[in-house]
């Protein structure tokens, strides 16, 4: 095996892992606060991807800038979803919650399919072919920029939750729903903002993925699964776990392509999940489980 190839793949995977972290962060945040698994996560990401492509094709705005718009738009979508659907199901049995979110996933996926059709779209973005050589390995500039932006957004979200008042009420609501209610937190609004932030993360991630891979309406489910794997690996509800888990899965999937066809790289992350579930079901950083 060529050591440089392995190094190159590991680096690429690491950079891709940044986006994974951002996607998983949204999922982990939503789970951590509301104890609801967003089964529509990957589908929402693909939806955002196509919005970003449309912005690029109609207005010529590059995904490196339009990710902000996508994030804002998806915040609105997430806010509405929480207000209309999810707030009503929090008291239901877990089984019933799952069904509603799966319903949402189906709606998102097929709305995308209806609007944009079922074929692959990979529009040309700026920086598409630029690369930097670092000794024996080369780095796509687009990938590097996407990585830096993803990590920045992730850190910003973490900072937001630590420092701002809304962030503090979100954490309070996550810690103790009843307690937060008693001290007068408008819990439904806080939840909606939280789901909005989770969706905004995934919206930004979707836009940032546009330069890296072709978009297809039906590719949401694998992303939902990958973000589950990351969240399980990092620990349910642990935000820093999502960050590190994303990087690990990115590298692992990329190295998996050494001996597997690249479209089967998920088998690697999936095996990781099985191992984690077997030996450490609470994840690497999960305390609460």
């Amino acid at each position: 095996m060529d050591p440089y190839l392995v190094l190159q793949l590991a680096l690429q995977g690491f950079l891709m892992g940044g986006v994974y972290s951002l996607i998983a962060l949204g999922l982990s945040l939503i789970f951590g606060v509301m104890r609801v698994i967003n089964f529509a996560h990957g589908e929402m990401m693909v939806f955002a991807m196509f919005i970003s492509i449309t912005l690029l094709q109609w207005l010529g705005i590059d995904p490196f800038f339009s990710f902000v718009m996508c994030a804002v738009f998806m915040f609105g979508v997430g806010y509405a979803v929480q207000m209309v659907f999810v707030n009503r199901i929090l008291v239901l049995k877990e089984a019933m919650q799952v069904l509603v979110l799966v319903g949402l996933a189906i709606i998102f996926e097929n709305t995308t399919l209806m609007i944009w059709g079922g074929s692959d779209l990979s529009p040309k973005t700026s920086l598409a072919l630029a690369s930097i050589r670092l000794g024996p390995v080369s780095i796509d500039v687009a990938r590097l920029v996407v990585f830096i932006l993803s990590i920045l957004i992730t850190l910003l979200v973490l900072l937001f939750l630590r420092k701002t008042d809304i962030g503090k009420s979100i954490r309070a609501a996550a810690d103790n729903r009843l307690g937060a209610l008693i001290v007068g937190t408008p819990i439904n609004r806080v939840y909606a903002i939280c789901f909005g932030i989770g969706s905004a993360c995934v919206g930004a991630a979707g836009a940032l993925l546009v330069p890296l891979m072709p978009a297809k309406a039906t590719m949401g489910a694998p992303f939902t699964v990958v973000s589950f794997v990351i969240v399980i690996l990092g620990g349910m509800g642990s935000l820093s776990g999502a960050l590190i888990g994303g990087l690990i899965i990115g590298v692992a999937e990329s190295l998996g392509t050494v001996f597997l066809p690249s479209s089967m790289k998920q088998v690697v992350s999936f095996s990781i999940m099985v191992i984690i579930l077997l030996f450490k079901p609470q994840g690497l950083f999960g305390g609460k489980g």
Binding site: M96, V98, L99, V100, G103, M114, S263, F270
Partner: protein, 318 residues
């Protein structure tokens, strides 16, 4: 209850006579109703009775379909035997998934995640294995004959599908009144309480998932030999898993007749909208409608339509 069985007998007799008066297309719809009711019933054994939601049942359909077809192509094995082989393989896979999920007390969401992931991986493997036809899928040569489970016209398929459905109804009814079934319901209602009075929850959940996956795979083989074409996107997709769960949820989970009622209610409208919307160039719209139906049912009929039906029909079947 006696009257109820009489009523069911009459319905069964009517259904047995129906192929003589139905057109080929109408029979096709009935086959779909029976087929999806059957799959829904298999899913119901696991989810309706133990409360563990599986969103990867298409995996077992796929295993049943691919195993029987591959064996028929490679060794000329009759699908009737291939069916059993597929069923046994699916049982193995199902038991492994169940072991992963149940052994470590992973409940609720974790179990759903595992089933989704395994379903997705199954699809990926079928998509990439040359010997499974990769993305083009497998095409089955048409050589009619009972032993090949291939027939001209829809009537024989109608009877096989009906047979499968009746078989599943009998199994689930027998299960429901047995000790097993009671244990499963106890697990669904309160697992900790069930365990504390000495129910071996792991054992009974494993039995439920094994039975469920075995029976689901039988349905897969039947479907493969009716359509003559297998592709990962048709038999192993998330869409298939959703088709499977929709009918028992609408009819009523954890009831013997729920999946059947659900299937009779929505199969025809679903097929009709699918055909119509694809014709007018809106192929995804019927799935969007499915999504809203699913949410609507959870919001307003969380127990399905069975409770209403039972209340309505109770005076007649005392």
């Amino acid at each position: 209850m006696k009257r109820f069985y009489l009523f069911m007998g009459i319905i069964l007799a009517l259904l047995l006579c129906l192929p003589h008066v139905l057109s080929n297309y109408a029979m096709e719809i009935f086959i779909l109703i029976f087929y999806y009711a059957y799959l829904g019933q298999c899913w119901n054994i696991l989810t309706g009775y133990t409360g563990n939601i599986s969103l990867g049942h298409s995996l077992y359909v796929g295993i049943g379909a691919y195993t029987a077809t591959r064996l028929a192509m490679a060794f000329g094995l009759s699908p009737w035997l291939g069916m059993l082989a597929g069923g046994l393989l699916a049982t193995g896979v199902g038991a492994f998934i169940g072991f992963l999920g149940f052994r470590f007390g992973l409940r609720g969401v974790y179990f759903v995640l595992i089933t989704i992931s395994f379903g997705e991986i199954g699809r990926l493997i079928a998509l990439h294995m040359k010997s499974l036809g990769s993305f083009e899928g497998l095409f089955i040569d048409f050589t009619p004959g009972f032993w090949n489970m291939q027939f001209k016209g829809n009537a024989p398929y109608y009877y096989i599908a009906l047979g499968l459905l009746v078989f599943s109804l009998l199994v689930v009814r027998a299960l429901e009144v047995s000790k097993w079934g009671r244990y499963l319901v106890a697990i669904r209602e309160d697992e900790d309480a069930a365990e504390s009075i000495g129910v071996n929850t792991l054992k009974y959940k494993m039995l439920a998932i094994s039975l469920s996956s075995f029976m689901t795979a039988l349905g897969g083989t039947f479907d493969a030999n009716r359509i003559f074409h297998l592709s990962p996107d048709r038999v192993m997709s998330m869409g298939m898993s959703v088709e499977i769960i929709l009918r028992p949820i609408i009819g009523g989970m954890g009831t013997v007749l729920g999946p059947v009622v659900g299937s009779f209610l929505i199969t025809f409208p679903a097929e009709w909208t699918r055909a119509y919307l694809t014709e007018v160039g809106r192929p995804g719209l019927h799935m969007v409608i499915y999504g809203f139906v699913l949410i609507f049912v959870v919001f307003f009929f969380p127990k399905g339509v069975m409770p209403f039906l039972t209340r309505l029909l109770k005076p007649f079947f005392k």
